[in-house]
Symmetry: none
Subunit: 212 residues, 4 copies
């Protein structure tokens, strides 16, 4: 279940310090990447935002792309971390609904981060991308399990392929709240969004069929 992390080389030896500096770095970088994107952000800006010199930045990474990887990796970890709290075992439709709502809340809380990861992950090299994709699949996998538990519980009848698709839809709908904020957040609050989307997700269009 735990993906092996891609090692990012640091010249500095003190592991705690590495942890600390990198988290400063990530915090600054997320902000910059959100504003200007990865490519328009310079390493000097990242260093400055992190509060240290360019030389120091490079004591903790090897290339600019390492920063992007670290950012993506860290965001996934945070999101996943928060999602772990969802009770996967209940196996009721109600708990599924709550889980989705909770996920949307998390995405709302971490909008900047999710947006960055979403838009910039594609700039990762062929080397680093799989690690990030793996984490994404893990998250989709969490929704699959949530749904599958309902099936096992007899709350739902759904074939595997459809479970798989539904999980991806849920996952994308979460991200969508971030990457389509310009269209959605003018009109809907996060609570509106949760209500409307879970409603559509559960009832489908047919659920709105006019009574005949």
């Amino acid at each position: 279940m735990h993906a092996g992390k891609r090692k990012v080389h640091a010249s500095v030896k003190d592991e705690q310090l590495i942890e600390k500096r990198r988290s400063e770095m990530i915090k600054g970088a997320v902000h910059l990447f959100k504003q200007k994107g990865f490519h328009r952000t310079t390493t000097r800006e990242i260093a400055k935002a992190a509060g240290f010199s360019i030389g120091t930045l490079y004591e903790y990474i090897r290339t600019k792309e390492d920063v992007l990887y670290l950012v993506c990796d860290s965001i996934y970890d945070q999101v996943k971390d928060r999602l772990q709290r969802i009770d996967l075992e209940a196996g009721t439709l109600e708990s599924l609904k709550l889980g989705i709502g909770y996920y949307f809340k998390v995405v709302d809380d971490m909008q900047d981060e999710v947006l960055v990861m979403y838009q910039e992950a594609k700039s990762l090299s062929k080397d680093a991308l799989p690690y990030v994709l793996k984490k994404e699949m893990d998250m989709v996998g969490m929704f699959e399990r949530l749904i599958r538990r309902c099936v096992e519980n007899g709350e739902l009848e759904m074939e595997e392929r459809k479970i798989h698709m539904l999980a991806q839809d849920i996952f994308v709908q979460g991200q969508m709240w971030g990457f389509r904020r310009w269209a959605l957040q003018k009109e809907f609050s996060i609570d509106d969004y949760i209500d409307l989307q879970t409603d559509l997700l559960f009832s489908g269009i047919n659920g709105y069929k006019a009574k005949q």
Copy 2:
């Protein structure tokens, strides 16, 4: 309804020539952007792919970003063009379903283009972005009308806000076929995708509730 196009300056006067050169340019650029992304593609590469010199390229645009705008604009036009053929007037659930399937097919046909537009549009300047976003809203608007016709027709009972949300979901699910190809296209054919998604879209989770 028709957004005024953002004028991209050309030094050359002959409008037909401009049209021709730009379409060569766009064709080459889409291919390059797909491979390497906008930022990693150089203007020289674009010129070369288009079949003329760097000097000539700049006779038809003012900045590199103009190319991106032209590309995005053109892709939207093409997609929109093909979507126009959907019969908006029928107002039956069946025609809605067909419309969605047709849209997904279009997206499948134009995967590269959609992916590029999807991933690179964010690199547009504050100046050009609104024009592209407007086009996107127009497309979402088409789905809204499709749905609204069903409501007007008495086939559906759905409030405006939900229509709006549903239209966006459909739109995003189309794009998703392109931008999550790495996860989806290993498992599903485009026809699978259409079947599963429209099924989920129409029936919702509740439609799969275990018979009691």
Copy 3:
């Protein structure tokens, strides 16, 4: 006899212009390399010394090392060019002596160039070095032929291995006039040098044996 030249990439197409710019570049670079060595010379300095911008410099080369290769290559060509004029066919000891003297004169004329090539060639990459070494062997080969002609002519009896060694000695003694200038040129003029060295070369220590 002609070593294939290692191609150095240029973005510019006009071959004549390439020739011209590169010769400007080489001229400036030799001067700088002599003063500060290859490593301490910056590409900007090279560009400036050549009379164009850093951007232009890189239109004619790909890497800094290309400049060094071009410099070394050009120097060898010049030296070789001048050495071609030696009459290889005479096959007399006198002509051998004249040839050596002529070579020393050439080295004296091109002191800076020879010094640079001598000291910096080792900084060439594994890729470029063989091309330069080949040229050096060609030059040594010229002296071998000069000597061998004397043998064929019956002026000299010398085995091949000794010919080979002698040719290298002559070659190195030429370079030595450049790279040990600090020690030699305080005491000797180039004519002194030629006289003394040819004398030693021809008579050897035994030639100075005390008459008994």
Copy 4:
């Protein structure tokens, strides 16, 4: 006769420790300089090769160039040390020949060191260079004395200038075994080299004149 050594500043007081650390440093540095040259070797690499930290390195030197000076200085000392064993007093041609052969053997033993010193000494600053050059002159001086003793002994008739030139030739021929190893060591063993060179040195070209 003994050149005062150039003082290299150390922060550490304990002279024995300085001696010890510096010899570790030199040993590591020679190896690195041989592989990559002085400029391509970093101070960190030197420290690591020496077995201590970068901070400690700088307790025993002030600048990177100090390392180069220390290396060159030490190599000269070693070579000189071994050359001292030559019997300068004999004053026979035979002892001269033996001396030359012995010197060539030393150079062969210390090839790496000699090569490094030979190629990198030029990177020494104007400040340090004279000290190294002085040592080189001392070594040339040893050969001069060796020759001069033969003259004094009546074994040889040679003017001062020629002695001077001959000494330099011998000196350079020793170095040549190192710096032209790529050309020489494919064909000759060190014993071949000694035989051929002393033969040429003693007999000269004329010694090979065809009997008439």
